[in-house]
């Protein structure tokens, strides 16, 4: 059952107004929804837009304790904090809040170690599919065909499935969520917060600046990525995958909206050829097939 809005309204405000995020930023929606679901959070942030939008020292836009740290240290710093807080008997929730660059690419060895040790932390990855704050370079989360400053002709490789790598660690809880469905995101975070051990939540977070999309349609892009089968929503608990209510019907490709409905709203996919779109559609189906094996 999804959370009711009044419950969400009663939670503390974690992201303060008047910060450096671009207008219509998906990361901001992801952050305020997810972090507000946690009790006494401590947030560890590697370099990413989330470290930029907190604005200029000594002012901080985050209304929760926040540690900024190097990429390769995020999950190890969080491990240390979580252990120290436990030793001191303090009831806090330690989380990593990282972009896709810091999860798919640069911080991978670190979180893999922490996941293997089953450290008591929640790892959030807000996924905008590229390195946004450094000027839109590709990451291994960038989908095929997307234009970034380092893939001017559109990326030639498919997007990496970080969730399946995470799943190979057999951690207690994994979920995907989208800013297009904030109540589903909040509900999953709340559920994760009641579980012990390493938990991972991947959040689809459209970025109007880098995707070259209208800032007003950020939530609509979140919904479209689900309805076209581009970003499936599911949970993996103790190795067993369950597609979420919002996504289950899109397991059948016949129920999905044409992927073009999603692509045409973003400048980054403008130059895609029909051959590239076909390859992209195959990539998406491959991911659905691989996920279905975990059901």
């Amino acid at each position: 059952m999804n959370v009711k809005i009044p419950e969400m309204m009663n939670r503390p405000e974690v992201l303060l107004r008047g910060n450096f995020a671009c207008a219509g930023c998906g990361l901001s929606i992801a952050y305020k929804t997810a972090i507000s679901a946690l009790n006494r959070p401590i947030v560890v942030i590697p370099a990413c837009c989330a470290s930029v939008i907190q604005s200029l020292h000594p002012n901080v836009t985050y209304n929760v304790p926040t540690l900024n740290i190097a990429f390769a240290a995020h999950a190890s710093a969080a491990s240390g904090i979580a252990r120290a807080k436990k030793m001191r008997g303090e009831d806090t929730t330690t989380v990593v809040w990282s972009g896709d660059g810091g999860t798919y690419d640069i911080g991978l060895a670190t979180w893999s170690g922490a996941a293997e040790r089953n450290e008591n932390i929640i790892h959030f990855c807000y996924d905008n599919g590229f390195y946004s704050n450094t000027g839109a370079q590709r990451s291994s989360a960038t989908p095929r065909g997307a234009v970034t400053t380092t893939t001017p002709g559109g990326k030639r490789e498919k997007r990496k499935s970080v969730v399946r790598i995470m799943a190979a660690h057999d951690i207690p809880y994994i979920a995907t969520a989208s800013i297009g469905y904030p109540r589903d995101l909040y509900t999953k975070v709340k559920k994760a917060s009641l579980i012990e051990g390493y938990r991972f939540i991947l959040i689809d977070a459209p970025c109007p600046t880098g995707w070259n999309s209208d800032p007003a349609i950020t939530p609509e892009l979140g919904e479209l990525s689900v309805k076209t089968g581009f970003f499936p929503l599911y949970e993996i608990e103790e190795g067993k995958l369950t597609f979420s209510k919002r996504s289950i019907r899109y397991k059948d490709p016949a129920n999905r909206l044409p992927v073009e409905n999603y692509l045409e709203k973003q400048g980054r996919f403008k130059s895609m050829t029909s051959d590239q779109i076909k390859l992209l559609t195959d990539d998406l189906q491959h991911e659905w097939d691989m996920l279905s094996r975990l059901e």
Partner: protein
């Protein structure tokens, strides 16, 4: 500032940790960024709070559940998300974008 290192209390003259504090308007009055302003039309509002859920800035304010939302124009960046998600009453949106 006093810190405890290895059980010893040490007085630090200058803060050695770059500690910041939560601040409203940490990047200034971001309402200046707007070229369009969302305008609220009360008679079309069904209090569904979708605008509140999706506003990236937290500038859709609701004092208590059951009250009408209002907009904090000091910080609203004019992204238009609230207008886009508003279902309104009988297809008449309760929010619309108007030029500044």
């Amino acid at each position: 500032m006093k810190v405890i290192i290895l059980n010893e209390e040490i007085e630090l003259k200058d803060p050695v940790l770059p500690l910041g504090r939560p601040t409203l308007g940490s990047a200034g009055e971001t309402g200046d960024w707007r070229t369009y302003r969302p305008k609220f039309i009360e008679e079309n509002c069904i209090k569904c709070y979708k605008c509140w859920l999706s506003c990236p800035e937290g500038t859709i304010r609701v004092d208590a559940h059951g009250e009408y939302p209002y907009i904090d124009y000091v910080y609203c960046k004019g992204c238009g998300v609230c207008v886009h998600v508003c279902p309104g009453r009988k297809k008449q949106k309760a929010l619309e974008m108007t030029p500044e």
